[in-house]
């Protein structure tokens, strides 16, 4: 369960959301998109196009094989998107096999979009809640969404209930702007809210559904609007991964020279510790993102070099060495204001 705290204007979290869905299409997973803000069909029309190259077909085959072999019986797949900046001298194909690259300036072709089954849930088009759900004691919008998800999971056999189905596939669920006023929840407007437990109950039941089936889910939430911080703490406990996006738009950091190459910061609040005592802790916790014309990348946050008179130019060995590191934002940063041609 990937829980994303939206940035103030929702620009970048939307992008991350679309990447999750696009990756699903490219991997051949089924999609379920839920929103109260835009119609899911519109969201699906706006997905970024994957960067294709000659070995695309082979990569897809490898990816699909890797995905299937990682499936546990009844535990969920966690999608942890970590976009690496491709090094300038190497092409993306020789890079990590986990995930694909996307070109933000192009839209995904409709044929590719239609290649997987898509289910959508647009709150304002749904019928009003059914009587059985009164026993749930939860916000009706959330309850309807849960019912819808559960129905898809059992009908399409993602929970292994249909032994006839030979090929097991993964369902990618994306829920946009949960907790906002549009869902009928008032945690973003009032403190104390009328029903502080709706969101947490929803997450708990969703977690149960995810654990029981082959699905992964990303949720974006306008966390900066939620008045009651206790809810955010509880929500963090109930999620597997919690990522916060902080954009620099309109904040004082926009003009801070430290951050001049980036558009925002990525805060990883929590990573999952599933099926093991340990978790996969990365070396650094300072991550920043930037949106270039074609690529959206997340890199390690690096201080720009202090270019005084006695600056020591980054030697060729240093550059080569740093280029070997995984998230090589440092390759770009070490250059600083001077341009180095390769």
């Amino acid at each position: 369960l990937v829980f994303t705290e939206e940035d103030k204007y929702g620009l970048y979290s939307n992008l991350l959301f679309k990447y999750f869905l696009a990756e699903g299409i490219v991997c051949g997973h089924d999609l379920f998109v839920a929103s109260a803000k835009e119609h899911p069909d519109n969201i699906l029309k706006e997905l970024p196009a994957p960067l294709l190259d000659d070995t695309y077909g082979k990569e897809l085959g490898d990816e699909a094989a890797a995905v299937k072999s990682e499936d546990f019986q009844d535990s969920m797949k966690i999608a942890w998107r970590y976009q690496n900046l491709p090094k300038m001298e190497t092409s993306p194909t020789t890079y990590t096999k986990f995930g694909h690259y996307y070109d933000v300036s192009k839209k995904m072709s409709p044929e590719l979009c239609q290649s997987v089954k898509q289910h959508s849930f647009y709150l304002h088009e749904e019928l009003s809640f059914e009587p059985k759900m009164k026993a749930w004691n939860m916000n009706s919008g959330y309850a309807r969404l849960l019912q819808s998800i559960q129905r898809i999971i059992s009908q399409e056999g993602f929970d292994g209930s249909d032994p006839q189905k030979k090929q097991r596939n993964v369902l990618r669920i994306g829920i946009q702007s949960l907790g906002s006023v549009l869902w009928g929840d008032d945690i973003c407007c009032s403190d104390p809210p009328e029903d502080p437990h709706s969101l947490t109950k929803f997450l708990y039941v969703l977690r149960g559904l995810l654990r029981k089936s082959l699905s992964a889910c990303i949720i974006t939430v306008p966390a900066h609007l939620i008045q009651n911080k206790a809810i955010m703490e509880r929500v963090t406990n109930l999620s597997d991964i919690v990522v916060g996006l902080e954009s620099f738009i309109g904040s004082e950091r926009e003009t801070n020279p430290l951050y001049k190459d980036y558009h925002g910061l990525v805060h990883v609040h929590q990573i999952p510790r599933l099926n093991s005592l340990i978790c996969d802790v990365s070396d650094t916790k300072d991550l920043a993102f930037r949106l270039k014309r074609k690529l959206f990348t997340i890199e390690r946050l690096h201080l720009p070099p202090d270019l005084s008179d006695t600056v020591s130019r980054a030697s060729k060995q240093d550059l080569a060495g740093s280029a070997k590191l995984l998230s090589s934002g440092c390759g770009a940063m070490a250059i600083g204001k001077k341009h180095l041609d390769f």
């Binding site: 708990y204 703490e233 005592l277």
Partner: protein, 247 residues
């Protein structure tokens, strides 16, 4: 015997303690009732296998009663109408009443004829989730109290409960529950993140507080502090500042 142990974590994940106690009590031959609210059965099973215990086998022979919260709530909400005589232990999702959960615990740990297990143990992971699901803090404390009377005093068993807390937490209900439990516990294991921040070789610090002051008026609580590093099958503890990476 009759001990109430509180596992507490702050700024870090204390679930390794839960895994430890689970395998510890199972290996000791106790009958364990595990109320697992946050993770699925397979998660605990896989970790327990790394620690040398099979949960599935324990369940088969009746040594382990496992309440998988996530699965039960799905059965409750999406399943057919339940039989009138058997309310689901997760009833509180709709009614905010923890009575059914307590009955479940009591029934699972009451020894039946033919049981040859050593003392019963109740393990809860984790209690803070009950607050998220709509239970009032007072109800949670009552539930613990009832469990304590039943398991610790009547059945002479032990209870181990995990709670989360945060520094400067704004979750007042949670803080209330945690503080109250701290006062009533015999032993507190408190896992914290390091004050100096994140470190690769030392994952955190654990404070072991033996509440001697509960039983004897003049005694002070005994507090010991260690640091730890979690590995795939093991957790190593060492004195503060003496991690293997430093020596």
């Amino acid at each position: 015997q009759g001990q109430f142990t509180l596992l507490r974590d702050t700024q870090t994940d204390g679930s390794f303690l839960v895994h430890h106690f689970l395998s510890f009590y199972l290996r000791a031959g106790c009958k364990v009732c595990f109320v697992a609210l946050l993770q699925s059965f397979s998660h605990y099973n896989i970790v327990a296998q790394k620690l040398g215990v099979s949960l599935a086998a324990a369940k088969e022979r009746g040594q382990l009663v496992f309440l998988e919260g996530l699965k039960s709530c799905l059965d409750l909400l999406f399943g057919e109408e339940e039989q009138p005589g058997q309310p689901s232990p997760l009833q509180f999702l709709s009614t905010s009443e923890l009575r059914a959960l307590f009955d479940f615990v009591r029934v699972s740990l009451t020894p039946t004829d033919g049981d040859s297990w050593k003392g019963p143990v109740l393990l809860v992971d984790d209690l803070s989730v009950l607050l998220s699901l709509g239970a009032a803090p007072v109800a949670v404390l009552d539930f613990i109290h009832y469990c304590r009377v039943s398991v610790c005093y009547q059945l002479k068993g032990n209870i181990v409960v995990l709670v989360h807390s945060n520094e400067d937490s704004e979750d007042e209900e949670n803080e209330l529950v945690v503080n109250s439990l701290c006062h009533h516990s015999d032993l507190i294991l408190w896992a914290e993140g390091l004050a100096t921040g994140f470190c690769k070789d030392v994952h955190g610090q654990i404070k072991i507080i033996k509440r001697l002051s509960l039983w004897q008026a003049e005694e002070q609580d005994l507090v010991q502090t260690y640091q730890y590093k979690i590995q795939d099958r093991n957790v190593t503890f060492f004195a503060r500042g003496l991690s293997a990476a430093v020596l």
